[in-house]
């Protein structure tokens, strides 16, 4: 994998095809777990782990998987890996497991894992697939972290509540003061939709601005033909 394709993978995963904002393929865990920052980041990390492992496994085995049964085999591989991660968390990261508990098995149903396996790992070598899984996972992680932070801050006025489950010495940051009354709806499921909607709106605005600027540039310099293919605004 050379620098060019790495940069492309990074841009795709972190921005252009971001699983949380553009592909919207991980809604179930995103909406359920983003009630606070610690949960969101933890699930993001677990998803990164599963995505890289799944991409690695599928890319290494892709020549042995017959085309017509690829989906069942992919699901089998992903489910097996999630089970392994679930057991490993339970055994060695028990505190974190108590927080994430029911959400780790839900990674199986996170469409983004199957989507990357099908769209990327089934056609590329093991190394680039693993990196693609990592970067797509990071794309999901930062959206999850941001969403979790926004919901927690508005909902309860704190940041990193529950951090003591992971680092016993750390304590949550109280940002809006101890007498902040809280804004319950941002913690409840509807709040997840509102917050994610606002994030997607911002994401699309930024993309439109960028596209407009890219269109303007060649006009100012009066270049012969437009050098860069126009980035299409992400489909909602």
């Amino acid at each position: 994998m050379n620098m060019q394709t790495f940069r492309e993978s990074a841009f795709n995963g972190l921005w252009k095809q971001n699983p949380g904002l553009a592909q919207l393929l991980g809604l179930c865990p995103i909406l359920a777990i983003s009630t606070n920052t610690v949960n969101a980041v933890s699930l993001g990390l677990a998803t990164i782990l599963v995505m890289s492992l799944a991409n690695l496994a599928v890319a290494s085995l892709r020549n042995f998987i017959p085309y017509e049964i690829r989906i069942p085999v992919f699901i089998l591989i992903i489910a097996a890996l999630v089970t392994v991660v679930d057991l490993a968390f339970n055994a060695w990261l028990h505190k974190l497991y108590l927080v994430l508990g029911i959400f780790i098995p839900l990674i199986v149903t996170n469409c983004i894992v199957l989507a990357r396996v099908e769209a990327f790992a089934a056609k590329n070598d093991a190394l680039s697939s693993t990196i693609d899984g990592l970067l797509m996972g990071f794309g999901l992680l930062w959206v999850l972290a941001l969403l979790g932070a926004i919901r927690e801050l508005i909902g309860t006025g704190t940041l990193f509540s529950g951090i003591e489950m992971i680092f016993p010495d750390a304590s949550p940051l109280v940002i809006l003061g101890n007498d902040y009354p809280g804004f319950l709806i941002t913690i409840l499921p509807p709040g997840a939709f509102f917050a994610l909607g606002c994030l997607i709106a911002m994401y699309n605005t930024i993309n439109t601005r960028l596209a407009a600027r890219a269109r303007l540039k060649p006009a100012v310099t009066v270049s012969t033909d437009s050098a860069t293919p126009e980035a299409s605004p992400a489909a909602g």
Binding site: T35, F64, I65, P66, Y67, E68, I69, P72, V73, L76, I77, A80, T83, V84, L87, A88, N90, A91, W92, H94, Y97, L98, G155, T156, N178, G182, L184, I187, L188
Partner: protein, 220 residues
Amino acid sequence: MSNKYSAVRTSLRTAAIMIVFTVAFTAVMAFTYDATRPAIEASVQEEQMRLINEVLPPDSYDNDLLADAITVAGEQALGPDDVKRVWRARKAGTPVALILEAAAGNGYAGRIAFIVALRPDGTVIGVRVTNHKETPGLGDYIDPKKDRNKKKPWITQFEGVSWSQVDNAKWALRKDGGTFDYHTGATISARAMTGAIARAVAFGVERADALFAADAGNKL
């Protein structure tokens, strides 16, 4: 696959490949299960111990508490579930406390599981919620980790209360004519907990002798 195989051969071949994958990945899962089992069992025990330590000071007993447990089946006083565990704490052979697993079935969002530690004379040592689905930020103050009042969480008002000292009818929220506080706007969670604690304590007091006398590992 190409057309050079018949449909039957194709399906047999594909099925065989599928079976190979299934066996291989089942083996991976089975191996992980075996490798992680001791650690998981240890964490479960540790977790139980941590919860028990929250309601009962570890230096107040000297027996192997987790091993000195019995199960109670079909007891409505302890909540809607069938099987509940009861741990017995003893110091030098004398009963120190009972730790009862119990649940309130009528929380705002279903079942609230908790443990309550009880002296043989009916004094509550401590109560901790172990599992609940009450509304975050509203009814979840029954769990001291979520209670905004860190100095004196809601649940601690049961500590030191004795079954004989409070009239039966007074084991209720102030709103219902009882003695216990609640947070305005989230009465249901507190009411469910108070009622369930009262039922569990009554059960513990009434059956204390039998609960302490039963052999460890027995069903009552």
